[in-house]
């Protein structure tokens, strides 16, 4: 294993760097897009079920198919990393829009009413009250989206753009387990680190959730 690592560290690092980029850019874009979309599902209750169902269907499109079709829809080059980024952004939105809606719906009606009574207008109330209260739920969804994106990127290796997935295809083409194991370990470790980072972020931005637990 150590000879494999020392001979290939450059390839491995390049793959890892690409993997981070391909997985996390969609998380950021998807998160930003999911907030307004999810809000719409709450603001207009009749939108909620169509939204949830569309998200479900989008999520069940196999990633490989999406990677292959996006160039047709977007006019991008077939090996452009953009295809992977857009595909994973779609999955992220599909996952998070629902979570955002559920998070906002879970806000205690009394809290909303109190805020209204205190003179909050709709937008201010959303940003200052509802969103922070919904944040634990939303961030839990963000953890899921981040981790599953990190694991999905590797499928792109089947069309030559897949970060650590390229270690899988290389190992598979040689029936050589070491690149595959290295790829899996790095991918899982990356997911673990990002997951912990979001948990840390959550503790930082929602300190009240800790006090509650401490009080109980």
């Amino acid at each position: 294993m150590s000879t494999y690592l020392s001979n290939n560290w450059e390839t491995i690092l390049t793959a890892l760097r690409q993997h981070v980029w391909l997985a996390l850019v969609p998380v950021v874009i998807g998160f930003v897009l999911a907030l307004p979309i999810g809000y719409l599902g709450v603001r207009f209750p009749w939108l909620y079920h169509p939204l949830v169902n569309t998200c479900g269907v989008l999520y069940s499109i196999p990633s490989l198919a999406l990677f292959v079709f996006l160039p047709v829809l977007l006019g991008t080059k077939i090996l452009s990393p953009l295809n992977i980024v857009v595909a994973l952004t779609i999955y992220t939105v599909a996952l998070l829009a629902r979570t955002v809606a559920d998070g906002l719906r879970s806000v205690d009606a009394l809290v909303v009413q109190s805020a209204t009574a205190m003179g909050y207008r709709r937008l201010r109330r959303l940003i200052d009250v509802e969103l922070p209260v919904a944040l634990p739920v939303i961030l839990a969804g963000l953890r899921v989206a981040t981790v599953s994106n990190i694991s999905l990127v590797s499928v792109g290796a089947l069309i030559g753009v897949g970060g650590l997935g390229q270690l899988f295809t290389r190992g598979f083409q040689l029936f050589y387990t070491q690149p595959i194991i290295v790829g899996i370990v790095l991918s899982v470790a990356l997911a673990g680190i990002c997951d912990l980072a979001i948990v840390g972020l959550q503790r930082l931005v929602t300190p009240w959730t800790r006090y509650q637990r401490g009080a109980a």
């Binding site: 490989l64 387990t177 991918s187």
Partner: protein, 216 residues
């Protein structure tokens, strides 16, 4: 982009090798086997942890840890180690379905109203009666939602089996890509998405049927 592959009657022949019905059959076969094996493994563990409270950390974090395992990598590793066959696919897909089933079984048990359990005990029910007559039926809605998300995930992911020379609807994606036939890739994507929706509806019906009316 066109639907000619999907609507060509020749591709729907029941007997022809690699026809859409045959691929659906093998796809469903992978999915069902993985769900059965995953349930046999994960359900008792999740119920045990939820019932006793021992090992909660494992149950809570199994979800994201399992999701972070890249299925393509795992599958390629298994085929490299074991050769072509059903076993590598089942291992990779089972690993995929265990976490959501385990986590939701745990969550279902933990979110039970303890007053109900206490009442059951107070009525003189034995521990196994409490488990099977009270806890399990009440935990069922949460457990079913975990099972449904596991099912959706595995339907979309089972397509990667084709990347390592096995069957399932992924064949339409991989072969379509290899022979430059986008209409075949599109057929694959649509059939997989429809299969996911149909499966979800079946499970929704099943849920309606097995969940006690008092819990709806």
């Amino acid at each position: 982009m066109n639907l000619s592959y999907l609507f060509d009657a020749a591709h729907w022949s029941l007997t022809a090798d690699g026809s859409i019905p045959q691929l659906i059959l093998s796809h469903v076969w992978y999915v069902v086997l993985a769900l059965i094996i995953g349930t046999i493994i994960a359900l008792p563990v999740g119920l045990y942890i939820g019932h006793t409270g021992r090992g909660s950390f494992l149950a809570i974090n199994a979800g994201n840890a399992g999701r972070s395992l890249p299925t393509l990598g795992l599958l390629m590793l298994m085929v490299t180690l074991l050769g072509l066959g059903l076993t590598p696919v089942l291992i990779a897909l089972t690993v995929l379905v265990i976490p959501p089933i385990l986590t939701s079984a745990y969550a279902g048990m933990r979110t039970l109203d303890h007053r109900v359990v206490d009442a059951a005990r107070g009525m003189g029910m034995r521990p196994w009666q409490v488990l099977f007559k009270v806890e399990l039926p009440m935990a069922l809605p949460v457990m079913m939602s975990g099972f449904r998300s596991a099912a959706l995930q595995v339907v979309a992911t089972a397509t990667v089996a084709a990347a390592v020379g096995l069957n399932g609807l992924g064949r339409l994606l991989i072969d379509g890509l290899a022979v430059n036939d986008y209409s075949r890739v599109l057929a694959g994507a649509i059939v997989v998405a429809v299969l996911a929706v149909v499966l979800d509806l079946i499970l929704a019906l099943a849920q309606r049927w097995i969940v006690s009316p008092g819990l709806r």
